[in-house]
Symmetry: C2
Subunit: 357 residues, 2 copies
DNA sequence: TTGAAAGCGCTAACAT
DNA sequence: ATGTTAGCGCTTTCAA
């Protein structure tokens, strides 16, 4: 690559300021134990020369990299196109940037990449990893665990039958309260007087979909006649899937009077089919989504009641946890979040009432 | 961060193989000038110890980082949620991975971040940058240029009145043939016998939207009565925008018999409104999109005729250009693409005929 | 073809 | 409080 004009070194700054390299280093790294007038002279020199520390040299001695890998398993393009990731990445990026850490992006698709990623992480090029492993039975969590890198997972990982699961293995993840959010949504529908409350699930190979379904079932167990299995239709978090599922549902249970969709996009599809079928929302059928993606929920007709989760904050929290909250981290962070027994951090959800329910 | 168990060093490998560090280094870096039996012994030792080179130490002496920054200006969340970026990133990731380069992701929003990014790039932490600067008058390209880092832009950047523009400044960008693709689309509509051919534009603060509009105009200039300004409705690349624009269009020109939408999402919105208005596609109104996002184009009713561009390939090409094709790069790459006079590389587009036109 | 040795720029332990 | 110095792990002359 192009020969960058050689940047000024500590040496140069030291010379200009008339001090030793060590002193400059101290000032650059926070300036403890350097008397003010001297420190100021150093800062001047730094500014004058436009000095920027050489990360490689620093890493070599500190054995830290100030770099974090973000691993995104992306079997389908859809996964990434999801605004979800965009928001989470944004949160991560902000937090890392604020702490002068680099974000190294690792996209994977398929087995070969898994090995590659594992090797990379084990290679010790980054201080930690933030991993999005959405799918059940994904071998990635296990591989990464074996790599011995401090890791925070985005979303509750599925460990299947793997005995290394849970806190015992030092696993940390951040998720939103999928189950609680689902319960709140369904309870709200119950409070509205609805009884034939259906659920259009998300892709059930993802823990978030499973957890939301569980929440739905918990509440429905107490609703007379609520255990009707026909009220649950499997879908996949997409608008098209929502349409299909809603058609199936109307077919099976024309008497449905409420729908809890696994996410806003699914709700979007459901609304379309409901309108098509001549049903009024919320009069005939109440609809609730999940996520509160504003571009969706505020544009629907009628505006969508939904369960809000702060996705960007999830990302930020993942990064914060990795940087400060992990064993060996610089300090512990105070969390405003639940901490379930399995090593996760669960962010709260809020029911946002709009017109659809 | 956690104290990673200290990885084996060159020294260790050398000891195990019974050779000098220099020899190990040679083998690890390609193995030129090392006799085979020896080289094999070294490889054995590397494997046995699970040796992975320390990038920091290497960078310190080579002054290369094998790292590339991907800068994404993201004023709105939407920008990132676009499948477009996902695909381009994928292409970039693949190419960088294949050459053992790290992808350092830099997300920006707003002025403060610009300065930060410029500082980072100027700081010499990466060997080059891939920059997505979608919006006209974005100061980022200028700042980055000043940072003196080898850079490839994604999409034709707008240099406004900046005199540093173009090849003179060594600017390189990769784009698809927006103008040519638009021409092909409109010509196809003309060949179909359509005369009242409308264009729903993209967000006109992006060069891709401007170029597509230009292509449309070029062809329409030769169509009798084609210069009707009312046939052009400004939109914004979104389905909702497409709906709005289509309504406006039907209002202004009820006699429209063809629509060239700036992208597939816009076409999606347009199709919806056309159906609503009782018009048949393509009998009454033919519709063409742009991008060929399969999840969209294959699912519409009817399936969407569109202009395909290979987005992932654009990303891959950007990375390849940065790694091999830039002044000072390791070697020149052979391109199957046009190279316009202004320093860009333009990938071809193809008209994909489906049922909508 | 292989080895010995000199740093790359920085931090941290030790001296002062 | 400041300076001196010894490496961190690697590549790269230069000698053999």
């Amino acid at each position: 690559m192009t020969e960058a004009v050689s940047r000024p070194t500590l040496e140069a700054v030291a010379a200009l300021a008339g001090v030793s390299r060590a002193t400059v280093s101290r000032v650059v790294n926070g300036g403890d134990g350097v008397r003010e007038p001297l420190a100021e002279r150093v800062r001047q020199a730094v500014a004058e020369l436009g000095y920027v520390p050489n990360r490689a040299a620093r890493s070599l001695v500190t054995r830290r990299h100030d770099a974090v890998a973000v691993v995104i398993a992306e079997p389908e393009a859809r996964v990434f196109a999801d605004p979800f990731f965009a928001l989470q990445l944004r949160g991560i990026s902000k937090e890392l940037t604020a702490h002068d850490n680099q974000l190294v992006l690792l996209l994977t698709e398929g087995r070969d990449d898994h090995a590659r990623v594992a090797r990379y992480l084990a290679g010790g090029h980054v201080d930690g990893a933030l991993v999005f492993s959405l799918h059940l039975d994904d071998p990635l969590p296990g591989l990464i665990h074996d790599a011995g890198v401090p890791t925070v997972f985005g979303g509750r990982p599925d460990w299947g039958d793997d005995p290394r699961a849970g806190r015992s293995a030092g696993v940390v993840y951040v998720d939103c309260d999928n189950r609680g959010g689902a319960r709140a949504a369904v309870r709200h529908l119950v409070d509205l007087g609805r009884r034939r409350i259906a659920h259009l699930t998300g892709a059930l190979d993802q823990t978030s979909a499973v957890d939301r379904l569980d929440g739905y079932r918990e509440v429905m167990a107490d609703v007379p006649g609520g255990a009707d299995a026909r009220l649950v239709v499997e879908s996949d978090f997409t608008p098209a899937g929502g349409e299909r599922a809603m058609r199936t549902l109307l077919d099976r249970c024309p008497d449905v009077d409420a729908v809890f969709a696994a996410n806003d996009l699914t709700a979007l599809g459901a609304l379309r089919v409901l309108r098509e079928s001549g049903r009024r929302v919320p009069e005939d059928v109440a609809v609730i989504g999940f996520d509160d993606m504003l571009p969706v929920t505020e544009q629907t007709e009628p505006p969508l009641t939904t369960v809000r989760q702060d996705i960007e904050e999830m990302g930020r929290l993942m990064a914060r946890l990795l940087l400060h909250g992990l064993p060996g981290g610089r300090d512990r962070v105070a969390l405003r979040a639940d901490t379930p027994p399995d090593g996760g951090v669960i962010l709260p959800t809020t029911l946002i009432r709009r017109a659809s329910a």
